[in-house]
Symmetry: C3
Subunit: 322 residues, 3 copies
């Protein structure tokens, strides 16, 4: 693997999931693989889990990590080729990415969408330019349209849950439901897009449910069942992924905050074995109820924990390829 | 020791002081105790000494450290149980603390008081919730009402000073004076509370002097002599701790900035052996005079230096207990 | 070497350049020299290359590094001796520098000029006070009037380029040209001053070209040829350093943004062998053309890369002296 920006960068996603599960058992088994290697973590946006879990993954592999909050500590970047740079941008991404590549063996970038410029966001303006101009592998720590480190941890969590569950509850083909949840702010589609992309690539049976108008970009959802009736979608679910996103068609809009879409225990009466997932941070009692987050169905903290091992599996594969 | 938030968390405060003094002599004696252990340093407020000394203490023990400025790099937290989170808070402390516990072996938190909501501050809203929801030990890097890492370094500094002083100047029971000092801003009571709490727990003879209206919460000062006449309080002092704080009764108020409360050499004419202490940062020539800070009575830089070893003693005890 | 703030701090600049070139070949040859040593990187201003390259240099030597954005994470400093600190400054540089010296074995400081107070800037108010009050070596990561880590990397890059060039293109005394370039903002004179100071100290043949009114402080340029005709200056150049700076005489002024001063390929028709240098970040197609930055004449990324080894040579010499 060179760069890690979407599931399509991964030669064998199943093997990567297995590698992450293996690393979870022995996190320090490759503690010298990254000796004298440096990862640069560049944040255009704020981060908690991704920042800490990726830094920890690097540490577990013996890598040095350098963290920069690009906005606060650095400078504004220019992305247009051939630009006459007499505006507010201080440095061209060409130069920034090239120079970071001289100092770092892996570059990790977080850059959220504008949610106003759909074309720019879905072309992945920032990330794609880093990939173009960096001369070292680039890892997405969430880009405008995807969050692959999250999705890898999510898939790993489902696999782990299935293996640890009682044989009577294991299904060869678990039903996975991605349900839209209310939120007061306009959030990116990245986590939802990416979860769909990864589960479908791994041949999960995926149902997506959301109010009308919240259709995701079909590039990501091809093969999924779209069901606007949330109750029907949840029936017999094995895994329920709860996530808000803003509209893709009416780009960036919050079309509704209808509280009847909030997930609670009552809604899972026809999904006895359903386990609940969420990428965090979660708006409690808005997206889903306290009782679910804090109850036995929740896999939410396990997902967070698995972020370390997912990142570690990715970095390990990158280090071994280079 | 599990968490370290006040002197009452410490089984044997005297032994902890001795441990810190011992570590100062051989700072790298436990350089592998923290191998593959991570401390997360979470700052809700700015910090110089605490940030660097705690990070250095962790390094000296071989721990990895991850630093986050929660406000600037992260998100706003919700503290109310059962909250419907449709406001500005992005994540519940329940989830933040639980997730940090997955990534870190020790969580260190700095969180200042509001100085407007006395009840919330004195209930230690932020710190106590971290202690409740974290599943790993929590270390206070100054909370709303206490600064125990500072106090441990302070007590250690007094002990060290006594031992290194000429036998003729040693007293079996030194007189410790905590004197209020003028300041233009409303500062927390934390350092003063904590210094009183620690010195009293260690059976020092403590006198507190301040203008009327600056009485500290008696929970911290039970056993101390309160003397409103500063000159009288300073008579025969062995250690004089200079510190400003805002009013506790008229909560957060700056009742006076009367410059006659500033400490200078002239005021110590009846305290020949008095050594001067301050936690820094200090407002020179407002709280105390240049001549005292830069003169032979000062223990101020030693206090700062001892912050490393105090933190190291705490982390060492936590690592050994876990 | 104790502190590193200008070329005059270096006993043998040529030997330091050779040391940096040597380290580039074997960057991990001294990987334990800095064991249990800490460098504190204190930023009063934003930084990309300097931050990362200095941190990496420290890592390569096995040092711990602590990074602080003084403005954002810390406090405002007082610089006036004897000040009554009842204003906005929270801590005196005396105390801050003394305390940092307790925690760090080397202190590195970045502090830009005001560009409004010429006297204060050219007295190096901030850096000189750190040097005065720190009790450990101080390294400039760019001060009001100089950027010696950049200049060392620049000189190293020229030396390396000469050695790797075809014998027919080597000259015993290469012609070095420093050319002013347009920019929309008022930039410090530090890089230009420092480049002049270092090349002249190392006996390079230096020509400086700029529009009238952009004369640098002659303390830095004594021995250089000043030529206001850019075309004439560039004739036969071996190295062309492109850099904007604001006026020194009419202090901090942007006197012109005349685009005819931008460097492009056409201007180098009488400088067949000229290699192009710039310290980055660069305003493309304002300071110099894309074709030059991205073309075969460019040494710009090599300069950036060499920043690591220049910093490493400086830290190595400091560690070995202490």
């Amino acid at each position: 693997m060179n760069s890690f920006t979407s599931v399509t960068d991964v030669v064998n996603p199943r093997a990567l999931v297995e590698s992450a599960l293996q690393i979870k058992k022995l996190p320090y088994a490759y503690a010298t693989l990254g000796t004298n290697k440096t990862i640069g973590l560049f944040f255009f946006n704020s981060s908690l889990r991704t920042r800490i879990s990726t830094q920890k993954a690097a540490m577990n592999l013996g890598m040095n990590s350098i963290v920069m909050n690009v906005g606060a500590e650095g400078w504004m970047l220019e992305f247009a080729d051939g630009a006459v740079m007499n505006g507010s941008a201080v440095e061209h991404v060409k130069d920034a990415a090239a120079v970071m590549s001289l100092y770092c063996d892996v570059i990790a970038v977080r850059s959220f969408p504008t949610l106003t410029n759909k074309t720019e966001d879905y072309q992945e303006l920032v990330l794609s330019q880093f990939v173009t101009y960096a001369t070292v592998p680039v890892v997405s720590m969430e880009s405008a349209t995807r969050h692959p480190l999250q999705s890898l941890a999510d898939v790993m969590t489902m696999k782990e849950s299935q293996r640890s569950s009682h044989p009577s509850q294991r299904t060869s083909q678990p039903k996975v439901v991605l349900t839209w949840a209310p939120h007061i702010k306009a959030l990116p589609q990245a986590v939802a897009n990416s979860f769909a992309e990864w589960t479908l690539a791994l041949k999960y049976d995926l149902t997506i449910t959301h109010p009308e108008g919240y259709e995701l970009n079909t590039d990501f959802t091809e093969g999924a069942t779209i069901e606007h009736d949330q109750h029907k979608a949840l029936e017999g679910a094995d895994f329920v992924y709860v996530k808000n996103w803003s509209a893709y068609t009416d780009y960036g809009a919050v079309l509704t905050t209808d509280p009847s879409w909030m997930l609670d225990e009552q809604k899972l009466q026809h999904a006895t074995n359903a386990r609940i997932m969420h990428c965090l941070p979660v708006r409690r009692n808005v997206e889903l109820s306290d009782e679910l987050i804090d109850g036995p169905r929740s896999l939410i903290y396990t997902q967070a924990e698995n972020r370390v091992y997912a990142a570690q599996a990715v970095l390990k594969e990158i280090l071994e390829s280079s």
